[in-house]
Amino acid sequence: MISLNNVSKAFGGLTAVRDLSLSIAPGEIFGLVGPNGAGKTTTLRMMTGLLIPDTGQIRFGEYDIVREPLRAKASFGYVPDRPFLYEKLTARELLSFVASLYGVGRGPAIEASGRLLHLFGISDVGDELIEGFSQGMRQRLLFASALVHDPRALLIDEPFIGLDPFGIRTLKEIIRDLSSKGMSIFLATHSLHIAEEICHRVGFINKGVLVTIKAREELREIEGGLEGFFLRMG
């Protein structure tokens, strides 16, 4: 579903991502971990079309994010690491608005908004302005907005910021459920134990280079698990 082929990006003299290649199958949860400044967010921003890669290709199914950005963007949902939303809209209005941007019809949009608000436990504040939301509620709303158009892939930057333990558990269950229904999920995170718990494969990136990719089974065999591997790699 998602493939990156020899993707590179430099800012001035600094190479943020170098020759990155990977692919994510339908239904797979792929985690990208690495130290601060390793290139995780740059990779995600290129995947979402916020940055244009200097070289290489990023494809969602048959659509290239640079050549056919509108078709590619229509196929994924994105959850950024900072929960900036339209403060003067209500949660329900935001979901309707996002659904409209993706061309979802009125009936399905209303149905999806109600279902997702309930799924993420924020239906009771669905008609309140977002400006009064806590960080956890915003994070839940971000996820709902990323799923309102029923995408084939989900890109997530630091998924568990600001969530309480109940929120984290709910979200893990939702991610697993989406994956079981065939959605490809790419997440960039610092939370090693969560990546180890829910990802089918984990990629390690350091100084812009993808060092290795390990399957969940391989990680279990490594001494100290993912954390031990991460510390040795750093």
Binding site: L51, F84, F97
Partner: protein, 539 residues
């Protein structure tokens, strides 16, 4: 000073050669504006002083009025910036959590508010005072006293603004007090204007009465810094010793004003901060709010909903409405019948002046409402940026959303002015067509330039509309208005005077009209095209 370091260091770090080079066009536009301000003031002073004794009095009154006007502007600006600086800035909780005495934090925030509220005055007013100095052949002492006086006026107004901000926040939460303040400011402005307007004669028919009213205005304003400033400075312009009493009052008042701000801050700031919590407003449940229209209409609909919920946006319409009411009131009081006896072209001249004024209002309204439209997406812009929405569609949606009210407003203004001035026939239709064309081209220019110079991290619409990009837009938009009107006036002149052969007149008219259409077309399409290309490059 330690607390100011982050700001100084940020400024130092942003002063790279690359950034300076990028801002060079803005600096050039600003310099050109200052130069034209100097030339205009110099011309006005020459014209006024040619009137002999009366001219001297008018010149002195004008000086006093400039400072009084500045004083009111600085107070209004001071309240808004103090509210932002003391109660809405991102670093306030950081400083309050550190072992720093409260007085230091208050001093820092007051300094920030003083700087933010007065930078435009400090940048754009020197040409006016230099014109006075050069026209009067003043000694160096004049410049020193004007600079010191201006600094004290800024301190007085800033102190009053900060104290008022603390008091207003005591009465309302910070965001609402800023909105309430806009209403108060508007009321104050209109009342002051009508008091001033009623103290002047309706027209230039009675020069003696006009002179008396200028003198009355000055003596009525003994409690304003403009009067003290004039008392201190004008003797120096005339080659005498400075008026020490005026200077002493300025110094005393600035100290008192700062003390008042400091006391208000000390007693109210922490109490006010404790009251500021985010509210969970539940807007009225409208069936429409759940049904967004599809695609680009959804962008339009979203902007409209946010506009009506964000009082910071719509409350400024009141200010514009007041300005237009004042303008039309002014126009109505001009004795056209009397002036027609002096020159037969008075209606045509007044029509041109009205079109220029409408162009100025269009430029100001567009800078306030159209230029910031893209930036108003703020940090939530990623929602659109990552959705399958082309940049061009976004800009066209903004254009439709912004240009309709602006076009209605300006066309209504031109129509009302035409009725007041009794303009009929081809001139009436030409004025309407011109205003429509300018509305469309200036709207495109505003939305396009707003996309070329977006500012997604901002503290509100006001901070976007006073950015460098906005200033550049205003200058370019007004230049477009002037060029359009100059070409059209030339066509009218050719036909009305009947000079030259008929074919020559026709050929020149066609050329001028083509140029008008090309200019407006370029002003509309080029920024929209470049804006659409550049917008998605910003991240």
């Amino acid at each position: 000073m330690l607390l100011m370091r982050p700001r100084f260091l940020s400024l130092k770090n942003s002063l790279t050669a690359g950034i300076l080079l990028r801002r060079l066009p803005f600096i050039a536009i600003g310099a050109a504006f200052c130069w034209s301000l100097y030339l205009g003031m110099d011309y006005l002073l020459t014209f006024i002083r040619d009137a002999g004794f009366a001219g001297e009095i008018i010149s002195e009154s004008l000086f006093s009025m400039i400072f009084s006007g500045l004083f009111f502007f600085l107070i209004l600006s001071g309240i808004v910036t103090s509210l932002s600086s003391f109660y809405m800035s991102a670093d306030i909780r950081f400083f309050l959590s550190k072992p720093i005495p409260l007085t230091c934090v208050l001093r820092l925030k007051l300094s920030e508010a003083l700087l933010d509220s007065s930078w435009m005055v400090l940048v754009f007013m020197p040409p006016v005072f230099i014109a006075y100095g050069l026209r009067y052949d003043a000694p160096a002492l004049y410049y020193g006293i004007v600079a010191a006086g201006l600094a004290m006026v800024i301190l007085i107004a800033g102190g009053i603004g900060a104290a008022a901000a603390h008091l207003l926040t005591r009465l309302f939460p910070a965001r609402r007090s800023r909105d309430a303040f806009l209403g108060i400011a508007l009321l104050l402005f209109v009342v002051l204007y009508f008091i001033f307007r009623s103290s002047l004669p309706a027209g230039p028919g009675d020069p003696e009465e006009m002179l008396n009213s200028f003198m009355r205005f000055r003596s009525d304003s003994r409690l304003l810094p403009g009067y003290w400033m004039t008392e201190a400075v004008f003797p120096v312009l005339r080659g005498l010793r400075p008026g020490l009493s005026g200077l002493a009052v300025l110094v005393g008042c600035s100290v008192f004003s700062l003390l008042a701000a400091s006391l208000a801050g000390r007693y109210l700031f922490l109490r006010n901060i404790g009251r500021l919590q985010p509210s969970a407003d539940v807007p009225g449940r409208s069936p429409l709010s759940r049904c967004f229209p599809r695609r680009w209409a959804a962008l339009f609909y979203k902007d409209a909903i946010i506009f009506f919920r964000d009082t910071g946006q719509w409350s400024q319409i009141l200010v514009i409405a007041a300005l237009i009411a004042i303008y039309l009131h002014n126009l109505r009081s001009i004795p056209f019948d009397l002036l027609l006896a002096i020159t037969p072209f008075v209606r045509e001249v007044m029509l041109l002046v009205n079109m220029l004024m409408s162009g100025l209002i269009l430029t100001a309204v567009a800078a306030r409402f159209l230029f910031p439209l893209v930036s108003l997406e703020g940090e939530a812009f990623w929602v659109i940026r990552t959705a399958p929405v082309p940049a061009a569609r976004l800009l066209w949606s903004k254009l439709v959303y912004g240009s309709i009210p602006v076009t209605v407003l300006i066309t209504a203004l031109v129509l009302a002015a035409d009725v007041i001035m009794d303009i009929q026939g081809p001139l009436h239709w030409a004025s309407l067509a011109t205003s429509l064309m300018l509305c469309v081209s200036v709207s495109g220019l505003g939305i396009g330039m707003g996309a070329i110079y977006p500012k997604f991290r901002h503290a509100g619409i006001a901070s976007v509309s006073v950015s460098m990009g906005s200033m550049a837009f205003m200058v370019i938009a007004f230049a477009l208005v002037m060029a359009t009107l100059a070409l059209e006036t030339w066509i009218y002149y050719l036909w009305e005077t009947g000079r030259g052969a008929h074919t020559f007149t026709v050929a020149m008219s066609v050329c001028a009209l083509t140029l008008v259409i090309l200019l407006n077309g370029a002003a509309f399409f080029l920024p929209m095209k470049i804006g659409a290309e550049r917008l998605y490059k910003f991240t």
